[in-house]
């Protein structure tokens, strides 16, 4: 299924935290995005990307706004873990 965001895209939310899309996964005929918070760091800094876990999110449209929602359904999360897309 088509999604608004694609792998490689970056976006940030109202809380100013930035995320990047790492993967897309289809579970029970729904497509979810696998995102990770963009680590703080510049050219001269070392950073540990693993500190920020991959998160399964769902995107949806609310009028003109694009909303991002963290998946909390344990069944879906379990399937995602089994597929190896999140820890």
């Amino acid at each position: 299924m088509e999604t608004i965001f694609n792998i490689g895209d970056a976006f940030f939310l109202e809380n100013k935290i930035e995320y990047q899309v790492y993967d897309k996964v289809e579970i029970d005929e729904n497509t979810y995005l696998v995102v990770r918070q963009v680590p703080v760091g510049n050219k001269n800094d070392f950073f540990d990307i693993e500190k920020f876990p991959l998160v399964l999110v769902n995107e949806k449209l609310d009028g003109e706004d694009v909303m991002i929602e963290k998946v909390s359904d344990e069944k879906i999360l379990e399937k995602a873990r089994q597929m190896g897309v999140i820890l």
């Binding site: 965001f5 694609n6 792998i7 490689g8 895209d9 970056a10 976006f11 940030f12 939310l13 109202e14 809380n15 935290i17 930035e18 995320y19 990047q20 899309v21 963009v38 680590p39 703080v40 760091g41 510049n42 050219k43 800094d45 950073f47 998160v55 999110v57 949806k60 609310d62 706004d65 694009v66 909303m67 991002i68 929602e69 963290k70 909390s72």
Partner: protein, 262 residues
């Protein structure tokens, strides 16, 4: 991440790239910095254009020069021509226009004649043939005359009493005007930081006043407010008052802008 939060910013992956040597955060930062710079540059261009238009529109003659200037700019798309080339082009346009005007006069007389002759001819023929044809003959003759007069009239309006003497004076004026305009653009550019800072800090009203003052001062410095209308060959031509355009004095950023900003 809170449940269902609004996305307020977005960078497509294609723009962000996949350069692993540069952290994503840095790439995002670079993108936003570059985007903001572009936005700021665009904003400045708008302000600059507004400042510029204010000056141009404040004087009918300047407006005319500017329109001519723009016309010349749009006709030379490939290589930016020098002032000399622009003026040469303008001169050729005038020469062409004068030649066309003469040719139009000849055409007018010829077409008027042919229109009348064809009308009369058709009357003669139509008298013999029928009354209807007579009306058609008249109509054709009149139409021919009308079309020619209309075309000629339009051309006359366009070439509004051009003459070589006026052309030469106009050329001189246009050259001075081009120089002054270029200098004006330089003055705006050299004050970019001050203008943008003022735009950020000042209220709309204050900034408007600031821009007006800037315009008036620069306008005065460049002598653009001293264009006068004189008679050349019985035609009114706008000319700058000699010695008023002292463009060399405005090489550097105008003093006093910082103070005004405060």
């Amino acid at each position: 991440m809170e449940n269902a939060m609004k996305v307020v910013g977005f960078i497509p992956g294609e723009i962000l790239g996949t350069d692993d040597k540069v952290p994503v955060k840095q790439r995002m930062h670079d993108y936003f910095v570059s985007r903001n710079e572009k936005k700021e540059a665009k904003k400045f261009e708008k302000i600059k254009e507004k400042l510029f238009q204010n000056v141009i529109n404040s004087n009918a003659e300047l407006k005319q020069y500017y329109q001519d200037l723009k016309e010349l700019e749009t006709t030379s798309v490939v290589d930016a021509p020098t002032d000399k080339q622009l003026l040469k082009e303008k001169r050729n346009v005038w020469r062409g226009a004068v030649a066309t005007e003469k040719s139009d006069r000849r055409n007018l007389i010829f077409n008027m004649g042919s229109g009348i002759v064809s009308g009369l001819g058709l009357i003669a023929l139509s008298t013999a043939a029928s009354g209807l044809l007579s009306i058609a003959g008249f109509a054709l003759g009149a139409a021919s005359l009308l079309i020619t007069t209309f075309k000629y009239g339009k051309r006359q309006k366009f070439n509004k009493a051009d003459s070589t003497a006026k052309g030469r004076d106009y050329e001189k004026t246009l050259k001075k005007f081009i120089d002054a305009v270029e200098k004006y653009k330089e003055v705006i550019d050299s004050n970019k930081d001050v203008i943008m800072e003022a735009q950020k800090k000042m209220s709309h009203g204050k900034f408007k006043k600031f821009m007006n003052d800037f315009r008036e001062d620069t306008f005065k410095d460049l002598g653009l407010d001293n264009f006068a209308t004189v008679e050349v060959n019985d035609e009114k031509v706008a000319l700058p008052l000699e010695n008023q355009i002292n463009i060399n004095e405005t090489q550097n950023a105008k003093p006093g802008m910082k103070e005004r900003e405060n």
